[in-house]
Symmetry: C2
Subunit: 393 residues, 2 copies
């Protein structure tokens, strides 16, 4: 671990909680009744906006972030200093054009970038919640976003867009608040989390909780960070975001800065040092307990189960326009998962288009500058804007 | 961890080392020069045999075990009490018929079931080697097996058979000692380890070494066991042994002994408790440092690289008969890996057949009672025995 590693101590957590100086923060007083039946109050939602809300408040696009994403969708990340995670997709002249649309992205409930999460202050104790934060679900995340949209005085959203866990939120928005969503773009996602995906998440959680520095979840109170466990969790997850052919092309069996194998346990292969780097850099920007909460939310997601076991019922009578996108080499959320969404939307007589994009970039493709994704998004958004009567730029 | 967990203390390691009472042990005095250039001596090889060696010593079949396998291929495992790991394949009347063949299976070099490995006594210090054991490779494992075969006075092998890492050893046998191998049956394997597979192994090694109870590898000396780290490593690996459809069929999103989700971090889903069980039971029978050594041996395997980058050269002039087997749902060693072996064997003008077996059981299929695998093996072995002039039963 290098010296520059950010020490997320109790003080740091408190600072984040108090200020989230990098983001706008909505403080919402009325309690949110969670899917578990428990109430959460007060609620903080940290968010970013891009572009300008038009006079009739009809050009708002909500972007939902993935597992380890955050609200810094198109602006520099305050911790890593890197460009926003979807700055290829969102910005002036981009497929989601901030010269036309008012883009909102909020940190999810349970997250660690300013929204109420396990590192937040528990008003009952004056200490970080840790595992005393009630479990949150995708539906709870979306309910919190709806509260934010209310708070901002926006009656309905022109579009809700997101990939992976973000796509789950898009589906949940369409199911729970369909009359407030004109267009929905779920990318590389599923209406339920598969057994294999739950399995990988469970490995990650076990890696975190096996780290003695996790301290039963109370590491912030005890001045520790379960770095090694969280890094292992990230490494395992990271493999699932890439495709085997892409790993083969990018790394193959190439050795790392060496003429030959060392016959030891150093990172001989480039893929090893790449993964170690992914693990080490992740712990600088992400909270271990948030990782537990947010993975759990994904595992619990099963939209059909919430509607009597029939996915089509989730979308019954919907007027939302959908575009469902998958990637050929995505083995975490394979095309079959998207096809099930499309079947259900068809059964609900929804307006839906479906694009499977050929790429070797695996699940991560949704985050990358994949031309066909950009073109698909631009085409869907532009057409929906015309139907909605939004002025062309 | 339950109370019955076997405490693999220094004493226990010493007992295993001294006795391996469950197995035959060959003590080999001449040093083995390893691929790294280092020498290893003395060498202990723990092994099991089944059936009877015939008068002209022509009916010996060497079975090579996989990463976490051992010599107890067709007899009860001394630690777990479970049947041998390939008792469906090997035994009286089985495809590899112990009424006809003399089957030998030895624990690999670097293993932890009696053969010299990191838990073995280092004669230079009188303590377990730990990380002072030189790194071993697949070629070294095979060289040690060849020493065992010499030790047993067996001039050549009727067949060498194995799946996964066992299949790598089969290929290495054919490449390094082709004139001593009449028939070779590599199953669900590859001539080189892929970037994705190295990545998963690296995650496992990081999980082990992140456990403070690993103690820089000196846990046996310090009376500790890195249980949690090794369990996480096993859990991650175990997912890769199964196919997504099989996980879906077997577990799906079924809940574990509960009417509903608990909104907590217990093992709500059956797949979670299944994985936890896999992790917990693995640490009762496997040594953490062995896991590092043996995964590393697999990562280093690249048979073409050892032959000027041309895989066919590894088999040039071979007289061995090959049957290469893969499974449709194996994503760890996909059919494409087997196809590359077959292409190389064809280019070397070898006698080779290739069977891709349709199954949803993933990589683990090679260990299971898959009828087409049994029939393929029986057919190949019987035909080879006829050609070799071995009496029918």
């Amino acid at each position: 671990m290098n010296e520059a590693t950010i020490e997320l101590t109790v003080n740091e957590a408190a600072r984040r909680e108090a200020d989230a100086p990098h983001s706008l923060v909505a403080r919402i007083a009325p309690p949110l009744t969670l899917e578990s039946g428990r109430e959460l109050s007060p609620l903080r939602i940290a968010y970013q906006t891009y572009g300008v809300l038009n006079a009739d408040r009809s050009n708002a696009v909500l972007v939902c972030h993935a597992l380890t994403g955050d609200q810094h969708v198109a602006s520099v990340h305050p911790v890593t200093g890197k460009p926003g995670w979807w700055s290829t997709m969102i910005g002036p002249g981009r497929p989601i054009d901030t010269d036309r649309f008012f883009v909102i992205c909020s940190n999810v409930l349970g997250g660690c970038m300013g929204t109420t999460g396990p590192a937040s202050n528990n008003p009952a104790t004056g200490e970080p919640y840790a595992l005393d934060l009630p479990l949150v679900t995708i539906r709870d995340m979306v309910a919190a976003q709806a509260m934010l949209i209310d708070h901002l005085g926006i009656p309905d959203l022109f579009a809700v867009v997101g990939g992976s866990m973000g796509g789950m939120q898009v589906l949940e928005w369409a199911a729970s608040y369909g009359d407030r969503v004109f267009a929905a773009l779920p990318i590389a996602t599923a209406a339920k989390h598969s057994a294999q995906n739950i399995a990988f998440h469970e490995v990650g959680r076990q890696a975190v909780t096996a780290d003695p520095d996790w301290r039963g979840g109370r590491y912030l109170l005890e001045g520790a960070i379960p770095r090694k466990g969280l890094a292992v969790a990230r490494m395992a997850a990271h493999i699932t975001y890439l495709s085997e052919p892409a790993l083969q092309t990018k790394f193959g069996r190439n050795l790392q800065d060496r003429e030959a194998r060392t016959f030891g346990f150093d990172a001989d292969f480039q893929i090893e040092s790449y993964l170690r780097h992914q693990g080490a850099s992740f712990v600088e920007r992400f909270d271990a307990n948030s990782y537990l909460y947010v993975t759990r939310a994904m595992d619990y997601f099963d939209l059909a189960a919430d509607h009597g076991g029939v996915l089509a019922k989730a979308f019954q009578g919907t007027k939302t326009r959908f575009c469902v996108v998958s990637f050929t080499s995505d083995w975490l959320f394979p095309t079959e998962d998207s096809r099930q969404i499309v079947h259900a939307l068809n059964a609900a007589a929804a307006n839906v288009s479906f694009v499977e994009i050929a790429t070797d970039k695996g699940h991560d493709a949704f985050l990358l500058d994949v031309p066909e994704l950009m073109a698909t998004t631009r085409g869907f958004i532009d057409a929906a804007a015309r139907v909605r009567g939004l002025a062309t730029p």
